[in-house]
Amino acid sequence: MPDDPIAPEPPSLPIALDVARAARADGDLIGALAIYSTLREAFPAEPAPYREAALALMEGGHGEEAEILLDAAAEFVALDADMEAAGATLAERRRDWSAAAARWDRARSQAPGTFEYWSNAARCQREAGLGADAEALLREAAQRFPDRIEPTRDLAWLLTHNRRFDEASAIWQHIRDAFPDHSLGFVGGSSVLRMTQRLAEAAILLGQALQRFPADFDLLAERAWLAFDLGEYEDCVTRFAALRVGFPDRALPPLGLGRALGALGRFDQADGVYAEGEQAFPHFDLLRREREALPAQRAAWLAPVPKPAVVRPDTGVVHIAVAGFHLAYQLHLIFSRMLPFRGKVAVQWLNAGVEHTATQARLPAGWLDGVSVYFEESQAGGGVTRRGLRALLPADCEIRTFPTSSLQALWPFQGKDDRLVPEPPLYNGGRYMYTDRIAASVANPSLTDDALFDLYMELTEAEPLDLDALFAADVARWEAEDSGRDVHLAPFLRAHFRDTMLFAGPGERCAPIIVEIARQLLATPALRQICDLDTAVAGLNRLTHGWRAEDRALPVHPRVAKHFGLKWWSPDQEHLLGHSRYGFRDYIVRYLRWSPYSI
């Protein structure tokens, strides 16, 4: 018998692992598993062949086998952190939160410097109903990783979900201070404010945040939810519809859009939105559940709302109610003061910022019973307030709704400026309400005015901008705001944007817009008992002759004015700031230096 041939040297472990990985990379799961099996026999005390084989099984969709393998491995080798993490992931997949939490916790013990293990362990503990353990773990993690936002964030969310709002609020504030470049502190802070019904404060907080992070999805979604909480369902629809287009990979916008449409009674549209969402996000179960709940919502909506009996006092005076905020207040003044209406109308502004019961109490007894015409601003108060007010109106009252509007495209340099903070008692909302990100980046007190201004102009001229896209977004928003309302502004805004100063700042409506809204509202048939439309419009024009309705003005950059060919713009134009007026250069230099001005 010839001697046995000399057995070849087995490959070293690293080389063999590389060969197995190559097989995995080629999709050869069987081949890779065979190599790992050989290696486990050859190197029984090495954890790597167990770990990688488990990973390969997981990749191949064989989670159970991977777990069995890991359990078996525990008899031969000490599982390292990676193996525990792999096991934890498998346990999570089968929603065994206790097992997952235990494995993440072991991984954390072995590799305490890896903060993800802490977060994951806490998350699974929470899912397993071990809230106190999760909280303790997150508090420790937050101390151990002060530079990482995640543990503190998770702790804040945990407290928020547990409705420990004061503690949560303090931690969200800490996040805003410690991580000023993250939007999360604002998102969480706003959530707490919303959950505690402090909606006005939430609006302020989000307003500040969106100045800094104007395109942040979470903030924009939070703002849309705030609109929902305020009962501003039309606004909510607009916001979520825009998010659905801008962030098509996010499942939240269809959910929010569907809910807002449902709140408006537009159930068929809501159903369509949910259906599309279910297709795009099959794992987001909420969409299915919301869709299933729609029939019940529809039935509740269609239930009759009792209206008060019509007892209109025969005074010969037409009662007009205008509900909303500042725009509504201005319109109420117009209808109160127009000469053709003198002595023939009683006009009341219904402040949408207060509960409808308080409004009713403020008015003369029975005044609302006599309302013939009810004008409603689109942002008019919460749903409860709006529905409450409408429920107080006589059944035959004519209701007309009008949109608000804004324009962003003329001020494309808006953005974060850390100098904007409340400065009571002079500048409660901050010194320069409209911030400029370019100016914020070049503010340098050591430069002369000329050098500062030149630097600003150089940078703003070089800034890449797609002004047409910005304007297209404005137009799309105007059209969305017009949708479903009686007054339509988009055609007017488009037609006159270049030849008339319609906005003095992004949200600063000038008189022509307010007059146009009033003009359209004057067509309400119930007003014909006062005078014909031509007489009414002539009275409107006479009252508003020379009216600018200017509260404050933000200069339009020459580059922007030139791009859009603004006929009303002039380089010498002066802009109202507080109690002062400044030309473009003066305004910019003052802004750059964050100078005080007389209010």
């Binding site: 003044l333 003061r337 020379g546 109690h579 100078s595």
Partner: protein
């Protein structure tokens, strides 16, 4: 008492109110003093028992006092009674330019006005109200009539200016600050007043500069800084421009107002009107937006 800071009290008409407004913007003043204001033209007797009682005066260390000629009225007597003995007083004069609005007299419509009012009377304009004359002329005819009557009845404006100067110098005799010479030197080349008593930013800057220099309790450095801040705030400031009463074109011409633009638009609340538009609306007492 207002906290632990002493108080700086400003006693004066709407010009005093505006000075208090400017003072609140000056960090050196704000940090050193609580700023208080008594506008005597708006004060009732009851206010002296409530808002302006003895406790109100307890911490007043500086008074910027707008002087008045003639016998002290009750408001001033009460002021003098209640001021702490150690209070340092800086006296300053009011600025009044009646010569540029010589038709200001009385307008009975102000008494019965509802939710809007034209507070700067023009006796000739008031006499042309269609409700009085029984005839609402077309715009051109009505404005022409107003212009004809006002030119016919135009007083001697230089004499009116001398009267303003006499009144101003009488007040300055009681004051630590003089401003009339500066007014006379500049009012033809610079707009100093929006109405007979509502001023533009420049006279306020002039007054404030001197009030600060005479205020006890501020270091020289603080005075210099506050003066600089005040001058900075004045740049671009419109002063008391809530209502601007347009000057009659003939008056502007006769007084040689070089800054005057006969076609200029003037701020009236949130409107901007020419002289003609303002006069027609005033005559007819037409409503406007606030």
């Amino acid at each position: 008492m207002t906290g632990t800071k002493p108080s700086l009290l400003i006693y004066g008409n709407c010009q005093g109110e505006h000075l208090s407004h400017i003072a609140r913007h000056l960090p050196d003043i704000r940090d050193k003093f609580a700023i208080k204001i008594i506008p005597p033209h708006l004060v009732t007797r009851a206010d002296w028992d409530t808002r302006f009682n003895e406790a109100f005066f307890a911490d007043v260390r500086v008074l910027w006092n707008q002087v008045e000629t003639g016998e002290p009225n009750e408001n001033r007597r009460l002021l003098q009674e209640r001021l702490p003995k150690d209070c340092r007083i800086v006296n300053f004069p009011p600025v009044i330019l009646l010569c540029l609005w010589p038709f200001s007299g009385s307008d009975p419509r102000q008494v019965t006005a509802g939710d809007y009012v034209y507070p700067w009377p023009d006796s000739i304009g008031a006499s042309l109200d269609p409700a009085v004359t029984g005839e609402d002329l077309p715009d051109d005819a009505l404005y022409d009539l107003y212009m004809r009557l006002t030119v016919e009845k135009m007083p001697d404006l230089e004499r009116r200016l001398r009267l303003d100067a006499t009144r101003a110098r009488a007040a300055e005799a009681l004051s630590d600050i003089r401003i009339w010479d500066w007014i006379e030197e500049n009012f033809r080349t610079t707009k100093l007043s929006h109405t007979s008593t509502h001023l533009t930013a420049a006279p306020f800057a002039y007054l404030m500069h001197r009030l600060l220099a005479l205020t006890d309790g501020l270091t020289p450095a603080e005075i210099a800084r506050a003066q600089r801040d005040s001058a900075f705030l004045a740049r671009g400031s419109q002063g008391q421009d809530v209502e601007v009463v347009p000057i009659h074109p003939t008056i502007a011409e006769r007084m040689g107002l070089t800054w005057y633009d006969p076609n200029g638009r003037h701020k009236w609340r949130s409107h901007f009107w020419t002289h003609r538009e303002y006069i027609l609306k005033y005559i007819r007492w037409e409503p406007f937006m606030p």
